[in-house]
């Protein structure tokens, strides 16, 4: 029984981080209708920013978070402004391919620069735990979980209240009307994509705290982010939270009851089932 609670706790904590991971993808998908296959690569880059700031400058990962976000914002903004904008009106498949191309380029550049070795980030509190109703909760994980939820709420408020946030939502809903109201769409697109990348960078920064990193983690993180977006639905930011926690718990339970080699089967199997049976996700309305 205690074991089950431990597993659930692990799953929920992991889920919070997963939610943050998927948030950037959901934003770009919902607003720009761009399915960004390079999303995982952005997460990976965020993790490396954190790693280098920690090992070279001894910056704590949580302090490095803003830096990771800024770097990735710049990367995302430039890619959108200079490359993606060139094919915005082409069929959706071209965007898929293009972002796939980004993924391949970024991953291989990272491999050439950082080498393929696994790296870990070990701040002083890496081993600290505390006990919650019998489950051992690593401090790093609960901090990551809280930060993840905090950023998600910040984004939600931003989209709802801030002027720029509302401009983004307006552009998403009606491009032509937004233009008529003076919204500069090319800039909005670039800012949104940059924001999505920044969120991925933040997730990567935190990911480095809880797991080993190497240049190739991008692919499966993109796939997991998809799963979360689709399971939770793209209707509102709460969807990624639900989706993230759901996936985290499913993975933990699967590892416990079926074995760790089955976690991918469970995650992606559920993704296929959701797509086929209820494409708008657990929170979405039925078609």
């Amino acid at each position: 029984m205690v074991l089950l609670w431990q597993v659930l706790a692990n799953g929920i904590l992991l889920g919070g981080l997963y939610a943050l991971m998927a948030l950037g993808l959901a934003l770009v998908w919902g607003v720009l209708n761009i399915v960004n296959l390079a999303h995982g690569a952005f997460i990976m880059l965020g993790a490396y920013v954190c790693y280098y700031l920690f090992t070279v400058f001894h910056v704590d990962p949580f302090a490095a978070l803003p830096a990771a976000m800024v770097v990735l914002f710049v990367v995302g903004y430039s890619l959108q402004r200079n490359v993606l904008n060139l094919i915005i009106r082409a069929p959706m498949f071209n965007t898929l391919l293009l972002t796939f191309g980004f993924e391949v380029v970024l991953t291989n550049l990272a491999q050439m620069i950082f080498s393929a070795d696994y790296r870990t980030i070990n701040p002083s509190y890496a081993g600290a735990n505390f006990n919650l109703f019998g489950a051992t909760i690593p401090l790093a994980r609960i901090l990551a979980f809280t930060t993840g939820l905090l950023l998600t709420s910040c984004l939600w408020f931003f989209l709802l209240k801030a002027r720029l946030g509302r401009a983004i939502r307006a552009t998403a809903q009606n491009l032509i009307a937004a233009r008529l109201y003076g919204v500069e769409t090319r800039k909005i697109y670039a800012i949104t994509f940059g924001l999505g990348a920044a969120l991925a960078g933040a997730a990567g920064d935190l990911y480095g705290l809880v797991s080993q990193i190497n240049p190739y983690i991008g692919g499966s993180l993109t796939a997991k982010s998809f799963a979360i977006c689709i399971i939770g639905g793209l209707q509102n930011p709460l969807g990624v939270v639900v989706g993230g926690i759901f996936l985290g718990v499913v993975e933990s339970l699967t590892a416990l009851y079926l074995g760790p080699t089955y976690t991918d089967v469970a995650s992606f199997g559920i993704l296929v089932l959701v797509l086929v049976l209820r494409p708008t996700g657990l929170l979405g309305r039925t078609a």
């Binding site: 399915v35 490359v83 904008n85 060139l86 094919i87 915005i88 009106r89 082409a90 959706m92 498949f93 071209n94 898929l96 391919l97 293009l98 796939f100 191309g101 980004f102 993924e103 391949v104 380029v105 970024l106 991953t107 291989n108 550049l109 491999q111 050439m112 769409t185 090319r186 697109y189 692919g219 499966s220 796939a223 998809f226 799963a227 689709i230 080699t261 089955y262 991918d264 089967v265 992606f268 199997g269 993704l271 296929v272 797509l275 086929v276 494409p279």
Partner: protein, 316 residues
């Protein structure tokens, strides 16, 4: 290029390709086998992605199923290679029909993501099966005969290409293209879209699986990571798209060109090859989204303007 010159070029190239095992060094033959298999994969992608317009990111699934099906038939049941190939293909096609029916109801992004998810699920399942050797893999009976494998791969490519050529001129092919251009209008005109899509998906699976089966026997040792390699999907798609999706010879040109350049580059560093593929994708999608085939036809009229035209058509 006038027709008789075209035929001459085609048969000439084919003759040279057939002769390769006897006129070229062994490394070229091996390069040839890999490239021929990739070309077959690109062609099979072209059927579902190029002609029907359903961009599948899951071709690796059928390749792997064909590979494992053949291997298991030969190892567990001691069946000859030919029978193994057929069984592997049967497994792949059955799976294509069963999973195709629900998944082909999805449109656009969702279909692509579903196939991506399948590309992750199926190897994860296979690596948990004892009969498939779990994560360790399987060892097939050894046959050292690169020439035989080369000619088999070439033969498969020829059959696949002939099938595509036939389809492109048939009622079936027209129906597929109609589905690609406007599925609702196609249905309103009498095209049985569900049947056609599933058939296209199954045919693509068939050729991918046969390619996988040959690959398994050739390399003798298979494991889930290698046979269900996700990067195969990248390569299939980019070769078909670069060459010209929806054209008969385009994907072959794409496969040979891209493999060739990548081979030359990876003399130095292996990740340069992958980097190269990534850059090709980015450049091709922006400058020549309709592939080499379209470039070939319209460059004569437009020259360098061809590229700026493509950008102007598609930017914000």
């Amino acid at each position: 290029m006038n027709p008789s010159l075209r035929w001459f070029a085609l048969f000439g190239t084919l003759a040279i390709l057939v002769a390769v095992p006897w006129i070229a060094p062994a490394t070229w033959v091996q390069f040839g086998i890999s490239t021929l298999m990739l070309a077959t994969l690109a062609q099979s992608w072209s059927i579902i992605g190029g002609y029907t317009g359903y961009a599948s990111f899951g071709g690796s699934v059928f390749y792997g199923l064909g590979s494992y099906g053949t291997a298991i038939a030969m190892i567990e049941y001691h069946l000859p290679f030919g029978v193994g190939l057929i069984l592997g293909a049967l497994v792949a096609v059955t799976f294509a029909v069963l999973i195709g029916l629900p998944v082909l109801r999805l449109r656009g992004h969702y279909f692509a993501i579903a196939t991506l998810a399948l590309a992750q699920v199926v190897p994860a399942i296979v690596s948990n099966l004892d009969i498939a050797g779990r994560n360790i893999g399987l060892i097939l009976p050894l046959l050292r005969n690169d020439a035989l494998f080369y000619e088999s791969a070439l033969g498969l490519l020829v059959i696949t290409t002939l099938s595509i050529w036939y389809i492109s001129r048939s009622r079936f092919g027209f129906g597929l293209m109609a589905i690609r251009e406007n599925e609702d209008a196609a249905a309103a005109m009498g095209v049985n879209t569900t049947l056609y899509k599933t058939l296209a998906f199954a045919i693509a699976a068939l050729f991918s699986a046969l390619s996988g089966g040959i690959h398994a026997y050739w390399i003798t040792y298979i494991d889930p990571g290698g046979e269900f390699d996700i990067t195969l999907n990248v390569k299939m798609i980019i070769m078909a798209v670069f060459g010209g999706p929806g054209s008969v010879l385009g994907p072959i040109a794409g496969a040979f060109l891209l493999s060739g350049v990548s081979e030359i580059l990876s003399f130095k560093i292996s990740s340069v090859a992958s980097l190269f593929f990534g850059l090709v994708i980015v450049i091709a999608v922006v400058l020549m989204p309709r592939g080499l085939a379209d470039l070939w036809h319209r460059y004569k009229k437009l020259g360098l303007h061809y590229f700026s035209e493509n950008i102007r058509e598609n930017r914000v």
